[in-house]
Symmetry: C2
Subunit: 254 residues, 2 copies
């Protein structure tokens, strides 16, 4: 692939989901990209991929699940992997010639946000089986959500508050090295989705002020000009019955 190849995101239409994490990085990096979720035949392209019907191109392993990214000859899957690829290419990692550790430090922060505020939030509404409807696991979903709000959410918010207060964060309110990286965009989207799923808890925690740096980061990302323009565009999809969902019976108090 060359610098000039257009990026092509492969993801389900109809909800932001994990594809949104990739979109935010593409948008913040000013990349030229297409998005299967917004193309008329896009859903068939994703279906062929996950059903193993995409041709064996001899270079890229089969893909199990979207999101996937096509860039020239390269086709890669796995959200944190795509973020890493794009972060490095779009100038979203504060990398210096004498210290390639930044790539791995930022990757760890992105992975931790995904673990705690993306995967665990998904599992709150699907704790038993991804192949079953929410309605078939409501009792377990309530038990898991209550534990998430009480124990896991403060743990992850507290961790990122510590990161933002550490010397390695530098000045400016970003997670690492004094400049916005793809980890900040990931944390933004994770917080944004968690606010949608658990508004009672997140509103209370934001008001109480113990995680003020974390909530300030959410606000700061919103104000980044390229992100602000994106969020106001119709490319930004509405939350619904995807990864981040709102169910009144799961909306526990913090």
């Amino acid at each position: 692939m060359t610098k000039d190849d257009t990026y092509h995101l492969l993801y389900w239409p109809g909800f932001p989901g994990r594809g949104e994490l990739i979109r935010l990085v593409l948008e913040a990096g000013g990349a030229d990209y297409t998005d299967s979720a917004l193309l008329p035949d896009g859903v068939n392209e994703v279906m062929a991929l996950v059903q193993g019907k995409a041709p064996d191109d001899g270079r890229n392993p089969p893909v199990l699940a979207p999101p996937a990214l096509r860039h020239g000859d390269l086709l890669i899957s796995q959200t944190p992997n795509i973020l890493l690829y794009l972060g490095a290419r779009l100038g979203l990692v504060p990398r210096t010639a004498e210290d390639d550790g930044a790539v791995y430090r930022v990757n760890a922060l992105a992975l931790t946000a995904l673990d705690g505020l993306c995967n665990e939030v998904h599992d709150c509404h699907h704790p038993m089986a991804v192949g079953l409807y929410y309605e078939d696991q409501k009792v377990e979903a309530a038990r898991r959500s209550e534990d998430f709000v009480k124990n896991r959410l403060p743990k992850f918010l507290g961790y990122f508050e510590r990161v933002l207060g550490s010397k390695s964060a530098g000045e400016g309110g970003w997670l690492y090295g004094g400049q916005m990286s793809h980890a900040d965009l990931v944390l933004f989207q994770c917080l944004d989705g968690t606010k949608y799923a658990f508004p009672k808890a997140m509103t209370k925690l934001e008001k109480e002020g113990a995680y003020s740096k974390v909530f300030a980061l959410h606000q700061a990302v919103k104000e980044v000009p390229k992100i602000k323009a994106y969020l106001a565009s119709d490319r930004r999809q509405k939350y619904g019955k995807g990864l981040y969902r709102y169910y009144e019976e799961l909306d526990f108090e913090a």
Copy 2:
């Protein structure tokens, strides 16, 4: 960090857990390393890290959870991140000058194995809350385990069988590019742990032969001279009440 710095793994003592994925890469790569799990004061070092009592060194963000890896000035966390760092450094990625895509293709394979056969197997015995005992979530654990064995396990085994049969795998029975990468070591350990946790299902699936390439990879990794020596040493810890656990009541038939 320089090429000569010793690697230091920070992980809990007493069970192989996620630390084992890192150990296998260090061993296969012939790296000089120390392991907190085998050091007299190691557990206190890990405790200081996760309790936020480690000094702020000005370079590395705080760590939420082990495993972590120290290499010279660098301290990084998150299993797939550490695997990526070591894989590249220890010659375990079939990288060529004209194609840096190998790094990302191998990383996607490692992440997919970790998702399906490590994180999901953990969640089989802890589907409700990581902070509760297994005994407090036995009913849900049985429901989740039954679904895992019936639906998720064949899905992931089938995916890796497809990967091993694709052109990108090349010759030799490895996942990518005709040579053993850290993704093969990850898949080995994931299969090994899943065999321990669900022996009935795994024995049946191995006998039936639908995933013969996958089970052959498990055997092939065992026979790699450095890995064979490691598995026979007392550095290889026994499974117990860690990430991979055996409970008779969760040992469903495939």
